[in-house]
């Protein structure tokens, strides 16, 4: 088995950073979809 070259704390930091980005993208997407509905649905 190939050993994991990423130190655990670095991996966790990356996971937390990715998690924050995921949440930001979801909020932005839902906001865009809401704007789409608000603007174009009479």
């Amino acid at each position: 088995m190939i050993p994991d070259p990423t130190p655990p704390d670095l991996g966790s930091r990356r996971f937390r950073r990715t998690l924050l980005r995921v949440m930001a993208v979801q909020v932005a997407t839902l906001l865009l979809l809401w704007l789409l509905q608000a603007r174009y649905t009479g």
């Binding site: 088995m1 994991d4 990356r14 990715t18 979801q26 979809l33 649905t41």
Partner: protein, 558 residues
């Protein structure tokens, strides 16, 4: 179709086959064949997870759904990001850290052999059949539009996929998935750009026109358990469905077990969380734009050419009368939509409102005639109309420029193949690890298991192709099996949730699993009736409830 488009499709299929087979180099041991020696980078695993989930029917059926029903289907995926985050901190560390081949293997370590065997058997039953339907759905569409025998359509997708999955194992599945995902996204974006360029109105006008028919409505906040696509069913039911699918279904679990570490496995899941909703919104938006496109170009009365041929043979008079009426209402709708565009250009608010109302009435007339044509087709063929699945293929074949037709069809093949490959790989893994190695031959050599694994992949591939070929005649049986599959998705999730509760005992897990499936069967047959997105919630909650109760009642061993 132009020969150049056929050349693109053939070159793509040959490339996929060669690239997949090339990956066999790194798979000389069982762990390499099934788990790529747990060495894959998170981005490759993430793209593979997304490619597996994006089937051919997403490209052709969901775009069609966008054209006929609008954007609201996207709510189905609202629970996905939350589910991925929950899995990232719960099941992923458990399963990756346990160094297992299958998710069910972990259940024996935690509970007992019978819980493992029951869950893995249920997986094989449902996935074996669904693998056939994953091939059958696009194959039926290809047969109808190109007039091919179904066997050839199945062979076009099935044979290359079985060969590269059998020879290259999970390495081939993952790396081919990466390229297939790039092709799928490229094709979708290209079609969206072509649509925007080809439309005779601005994107703003196009969305306003689509919005007038309700197709820009995304959110439905009503709380009705019988409605499938609402915000709440998406967030609550969707979260449980995605937890079940990504957390307990071997076709998904195996993807992230190939990652280098727990953090890489988590990151690969978060990639899906990132892109799933935007990607699904893009798929639906392409469908909405196709609807607007067909307001300015005359669409056929029936998009399914096979249905059209059958009706023309059986009821030529009735079809001709409908076509005459259809031509009339289409012309009126086109005139009405042009008035809307002119009124919006003039910035005349009240005139826009009047024009939109008139357009909506004309659109309703078109839908009435189409509804009658679909009912006629259903009467003639004796089968429910699936015309929605033919909207996108018709648009692709009749309106896309040279070259892009071939690229889009290659993308549909890619979507089908990536889903099938993951299924075959996971079916073989469960067959060999949870049954053959566990019960038949526990002491075999690695080389022996590798050989058996390749044979199992090939056999499952042949089985899936046979099921797909007879999909039309096996229709009701497949539906029963798929419905049965929905009984236990949430229940298996419940068993994994129990596994994380320290006081849970084996008897609680096994009896809880059966109780969960019984509860879902009860609501499925209408006592009380609820939409399928809630089935997983009911299954998981019942298993955990019954499991904890039975575990508490069981005296600890002295």
């Amino acid at each position: 179709m132009h020969p150049l488009d056929w050349v693109i499709i053939v070159v793509y299929l040959v490339y996929v086959l060669v690239d997949g087979v090339r990956r066999a180099k790194g798979t000389r041991e069982l762990e390499g064949y099934f788990l790529a020696n747990r060495s894959l980078p998170w981005w490759a695993v993430g793209l593979s997870v997304m490619a597996t989930q994006l089937s051919a029917i997403t490209l052709i059926g969901t775009t069609g759904q966008g054209a006929t029903d609008g954007m609201r289907f996207v709510q189905f995926y609202f629970g996905l990001p939350l589910a991925m985050v929950i899995l990232g901190v719960t099941l992923v560390p458990f399963l990756h850290g346990a160094k297992v081949f299958t998710a069910y293997e972990y259940l024996e370590r935690r509970f007992d052999a019978k819980t493992r065997s029951l869950t893995s058997f249920l997986f094989l039953l449902a996935r074996g059949m669904s693998c056939g339907t994953i091939i059958a759905a696009p194959a039926v569409v290809f047969s109808a539009i190109f007039g091919w025998d179904l066997v050839w359509s199945v062979a076009l997708m099935g044979i290359p996929t079985v060969i590269y999955t059998m020879i290259g194992g999970v390495q081939a599945v993952t790396w081919v998935d990466v390229k297939q995902m790039v092709l799928i996204v490229f094709a979708l974006v290209a079609v969206a750009v072509i649509l925007l360029v080809e439309l005779p109105v601005s994107p703003d006008d196009a969305l306003a026109i689509a919005g007038a028919t309700g197709r820009a409505r995304v959110f439905d906040f009503s709380f009705d358990v019988n409605q499938t696509y609402t915000f709440w069913s998406g967030v609550i039911g969707g979260t449980f469905l995605m937890l079940s699918y990504f957390g307990t279904d071997q076709s998904q679990v195996q993807r992230y077990l190939t990652a280098k570490s727990v953090d890489e496995a988590r990151s690969s899941l978060l990639m899906s969380a990132y892109w799933k909703i935007p990607l699904q919104a893009l798929v639906l938006l392409v469908g909405v734009l196709v609807f607007v496109f067909y307001l300015f170009q005359a669409p056929p009365l029936l998009f399914n050419p096979a249905d059209e041929r059958a009706v023309r043979r059986a009821e030529p008079g009735a079809l001709a009368a409908l076509e005459t009426r259809y031509g009339g209402v289409l012309a009126e709708r086109r005139a009405a939509v042009e008035v809307v565009a002119r009124a919006r250009d003039g910035g005349d608010g009240p005139a826009v409102t009047v024009a939109l109302d008139r357009f909506k009435a004309r659109d309703a007339d078109v839908e009435t005639v189409r509804g009658e044509a679909l009912a006629l087709a259903e009467r003639v063929t004796g089968e429910p109309s699936r015309d929605v699945n033919y909207v996108m293929p018709w648009f692709v074949l009749h309106h896309l420029p040279l070259g892009l037709v071939g690229i889009f069809i290659a993308a549909v093949l890619a979507a089908a193949m990536s889903s099938i490959a993951a299924e075959l790989n996971s079916l073989a893994t469960v067959t060999v690890i949870d049954f053959y190695r566990r019960w038949v031959r526990p002491e075999g050599s690695d080389g022996h298991y590798l050989l058996v694994s390749k044979a199992a992949t090939g056999l499952w591939g042949v089985f899936a192709c046979v099921v797909a070929t007879f999909a039309a005649t096996l229709g009701s049986l497949i539906e029963v099996v798929n419905r049965f599959g929905s009984f236990f998705y949430g229940s298996i999730l419940g068993v994994f949730l129990l596994a994380m509760i320290r006081r849970a005992r084996p008897v609680g897990a096994f009896v809880g699993l059966i109780a969960g499936m019984a509860a879902v069967a009860a609501v499925n047959f209408g006592a009380p009736s609820v939409s399928f997105l809630w089935h997983n919630v009911i299954g998981a909650v019942t298993v955990v409830g019954v499991g904890i109760l039975l575990s508490a009642m069981q005296r600890p061993a002295s």
